[in-house]
Amino acid sequence: MSNLREDKKVIHSPRIGVLALQGDFAAHADALREAGAEPLLVRAPEALVLAGPESLDGLILPGGESTTFLKFLERDRLLGALASFVREKPVFGTCAGCILLAHKVTHPAQQSLDAMDIDVERNAYGRQIDSAVVEVETKLPGPPLEMVYIRAPRISRAGPAVEVLAERDGFPVLVRQGNRLASTFHPELSLDRRVHRLFVDIVAANVQQ
């Protein structure tokens, strides 16, 4: 068993799941490949086992419609498996995924995993006509980061344990709390891979431990 663990560390790139119920999971899978990880599409609770050679090293909750995600989570008993997974292993949520990770969701209120100490307001920037591409300074190394916002939510509160890696108009847009990362924009829709690389690094460091 310790040998298997050893193999994983040395030979394999991190195995990162992408929740593939709906949304732009394929774009995330491509981005993960470019960032040096092995993506696996997750549609069933069995894929979220916490131990064993088939277990995932981390998970991405993609963009899409958060109400649709929730419907499937309730229906397919995925909610429990997902809640256990995000407490144990690194997770990264973008847009709808960020909404799922929140402590509290407003506009309208809906269920969430309470995996990060953030409150999120849905569709806070308006409708599709208010979607935008902007360039923003971040705490990541390198030049300002291009950010694609599509009917984006807003992080209206971030607790003291949450590190804000970037802000737009005074509100956090890229946040980290331990092994958990969330963005209200869609790094998977840009060519810049710095955010996915950061997550792959978080996952790789967690595997080594």
């Binding site: 999971f25 899409g64 419609e65 649709t68 599709q128 979607s131 935008a132 902007v134």
Partner: protein, 323 residues
């Protein structure tokens, strides 16, 4: 901070438009005529709703000129749900599209289901900030719409029939023509562009990537979970369901409305609509899992009474509108 969302036609504008289409992938977009239908769609897990006054089956049965829905209805539906709201404009009717954009509709469907307003020109979709979806029966038609600024293509099928045969025909046609382009040499692409009556640059893009430069969804006659799974396996990236969820037959919707006490007026019919909406959403996500498909198909009560496309007169077809 450089704001670049004022550019509707350039690369940035198109990325924002196709970006929303990316978010809808793997989902179901449902036609709704009332706020209660919209609420049922959202609760079932639809990724968006299409606000209409009459679904295609009713337009087909009742005839007359079919126009953009009443803005008051569209506003009500926008307020009733948190998911994106789409609405249809007539082919070439850019003034209807301007009104829809003003209302805050998230996607405009320039649709052959409504009566065309222009016999030669489609809407110049680059002039709008709101993204457009357009129907297509073959690759050339899809690429002409993309050249005009469409951010999403859907197969036309034959709307309002509950017969999936032409959705299949159009999807197979587009996929086959895309595959054929990938094996052509650079110099053969010029002639291919001429044959498809499509811009060379777009034809070249498809030849290189083997797929459309925008998401490719399916519509037109999808009525059951099995239909949705079929279209997804044939290459659709998401599903539009028109008359299949809320119609009993071609003319009468299921009664899903609430009474004064807030309870369903006709519980059995509301449950039937809910069961259809749920089943099609699950079937679309789990389209390659026959076990799940069997399960949800079994749970679904009733299905729209269909109309065989083969029995329709040429003049009754909606798909031949647009060019």
């Amino acid at each position: 901070m450089a704001e670049t969302n004022g550019n509707y036609s350039g690369a940035t504008g198109l990325r924002l438009k196709t970006g929303l289409a990316e978010m809808l992938k793997g989902g179901v977009i449902m036609d709704v005529m009332t706020t209660q239908q919209a609420v049922i769609a959202e609760r079932a897990g639809a990724v968006a709703v299409m606000a209409l006054e009459r679904v295609p089956a009713m337009i087909r049965a009742e005839g007359g000129v079919a126009r953009m829905a009443n803005p008051a209805l569209i506003r009500e539906i926008i307020h009733a749900v948190s998911i994106p709201v789409m609405a249809k404009a007539r082919i070439g009717h850019f003034a209807e599209a301007q009104i829809l954009q003003q209302l805050g509709v998230d996607f405009i469907d320039e649709s052959e289901v409504l009566t065309p307003a222009d016999e030669a020109h489609h809407i110049d979709k680059h002039a709008f900030k709101t993204p457009f979806v357009c129907g297509a029966r073959d690759l050339g038609e899809a690429l002409r719409r993309i050249a005009e600024g469409a951010a999403m293509i859907r197969t036309k099928g034959e709307a309002g029939t509950g017969d999936v045969v032409h959705a299949v025909k159009h999807m197979r046609q587009i996929v086959k023509e895309m595959k054929a382009l990938t094996v052509l040499s650079e110099q053969e692409l010029y002639a291919a562009a001429k044959e498809h009556r499509a811009p060379y640059e777009l034809v070249r893009m498809v030849a290189q990537n083997g797929k459309l430069p925008v998401p490719n969804f399916s519509a037109g006659g999808i009525a059951t979970p099995a239909d949705a799974a079929l279209m997804m396996q044939l290459g659709a990236e998401a599903i539009f369901v028109g008359s299949g969820i809320f119609m009993k037959d071609g003319t009468t919707p299921l009664d899903v409305e609430l009474n004064a006490q807030g309870a369903p007026r006709t519980p059995k019919e509301r449950e039937e609509a809910e069961s259809r909406a749920n089943a099609i959403v699950i079937a679309t996500t789990h389209c390659r899992d026959p076990k799940v498909l069997a399960e949800v198909s079994e749970k679904m009560t009733g299905a729209m009474k269909g109309l065989a496309v083969a029995a329709l007169d040429e003049r009754q077809l909606l798909q031949t509108r647009g060019w």
